[in-house]
Symmetry: C2
Amino acid sequence: MTKSSQQGLTAGVKNQINPMSSAASILTVGSLAFDTIRTPAGVAESVLGGSVNYFSIAASFFAPVQVVGVVGGDFPKEHLDWLAARQIDVSGIQIAEGKTFHWSGSYDTNLNEAKTHATALNVFESFNPQLDTKHRDSSYLFLANIDPVLQQRVLDQKGASDLVACDSMNFWITGKPEEVRKTLKRVDVLCINEGESILLSGQRNLMSAAKMIREMGPSVLIIKRGEYGASLFTDHGIFFAPAFPTPTVIDPTGAGDSFAGAFIGYLAKVRANRDLAKTDPEQWNAHLRRAVIAGCVMASFTVEDFSVHRLMRLTHKEFDARMEHLLKMMIV
Amino acid sequence: MTKSSQQGLTAGVKNQINPMSSAASILTVGSLAFDTIRTPAGVAESVLGGSVNYFSIAASFFAPVQVVGVVGGDFPKEHLDWLAARQIDVSGIQIAEGKTFHWSGSYDTNLNEAKTHATALNVFESFNPQLDTKHRDSSYLFLANIDPVLQQRVLDQKGASDLVACDSMNFWITGKPEEVRKTLKRVDVLCINEGESILLSGQRNLMSAAKMIREMGPSVLIIKRGEYGASLFTDHGIFFAPAFPTPTVIDPTGAGDSFAGAFIGYLAKVRANRDLAKTDPEQWNAHLRRAVIAGCVMASFTVEDFSVHRLMRLTHKEFDARMEHLLKMMIV
């Protein structure tokens, strides 16, 4: 790549990221939680977690976000207010009687894999997502990692979307394989980690796994590979993005959800959707690749502190600088 | 990256790879062996192996190679003849009385890590590399994974080189740490795998490990990450190259040595060396990055069959096509 094309590229990325006036809106459905986490860097007790917490903060750097979820009376109202202050519509977060979902887990020196110690579903046990009119009007939908039966109920209520993406996890892939398959038939994008891709496909080889999973429904597949980055599979081919190599890795929790938030956020920002995939596949593919880079960059910030702390103090300027830096590490 | 700059890039790569008339010559010192290997794909009994066997075949795609090593009377003369037929000077391979070095190992489903079952050093036990005049005249030197004391003896005999690279392994890093450090002070390039980088530096974090290792001597550090590709660390920054995602992974043995062969071969081909690093650091860095890609591509062929079988039937055309293909997987 020549110097001038490189400057053109990063300049283009910057321009697309900043003002969000023209961005499409994103609806996400999933968990808000308290997490108790032990990592080689320390312990965090009952800190703010949950997939849509990470997802929505990350996505809000690019586009307006609506959240549907449930918390207990013990969830801090100040955090909901903080989310609301950044164009995240929290009116779909129900405050139910009882306690908020609580997850406890740990990571050993292999920071790519969490070990679950305890899961107290609490109010999340009877979560039954309800979409109102404004949620149904959202252009982009991200189904975070919840029961695939609930993911389908959201799809049933949602009606038409410009793009539907989802996540899942080992627990559902093993426990409700048929329901996971039903969800996959209805989504455009699946965003899972490498271990999940092996479990879902029964294939250890990346290429074989990707082929089999894409045959299940999603035309766009992202396999997240922790500190090794992420790979993107589309009709257009394969793309590899490295993780941004931050020297400060405190807690990997939420890396995947914030990856997805920046990825979908980026697409909503540039209004790249299912239609574009048909009308201009080259442009669609270019947007997808940049969205993956945005996801990698966001995840690299997430892991630099416990909970959503690093994301809460992240600036657009910091994000843009790191995105430029990562792009430079990929120039051949 | 624009379409035109992409075409220019791959065209440039191709032009640099094919005719080797102007390439500098490479000397390599290390093992030739019989390997008995079990992988999930099958078993291979007493097949041709050894670091300089893989290295020299890979490097011979780019530049003339000289090999210094030792085999027993049981090593097939036909293989030495085959090497000689491809501009690999095997006159430095001593045929000693006794048996050839024999390694037995296996890989489980995690193909990134070999488990050693047995090592019979045989004639390799008393290996004492002797360089003659033509070896000393070689411009590039690659010290394959042997006792660091022997690596230093080669350096003592060699005199001036345009570029010196080396490999090592856990066995020496743990067993002779002071000698490994002495070797590292005298090389330009270190090419090791991720596990070895953690052991050598005592750092699990990639950035911290790289910083510490580069302070030990090598200004260029390559950390090979198996199916995740390779990372390059220089004064110029960091570069990440993905592995080429071949669907056919039979045997990872020799992937690292053939990576190094293509990497050094590529540099010798374009005559990128220590001087260029000083006079034109941008050009030097660009060559290093392409050399890393060449290494990743070569390694992806190596793993497609047992022993050096895939490399022995690899064509320039196949190599160039896969290199273009991998570069396309990196375009943002």
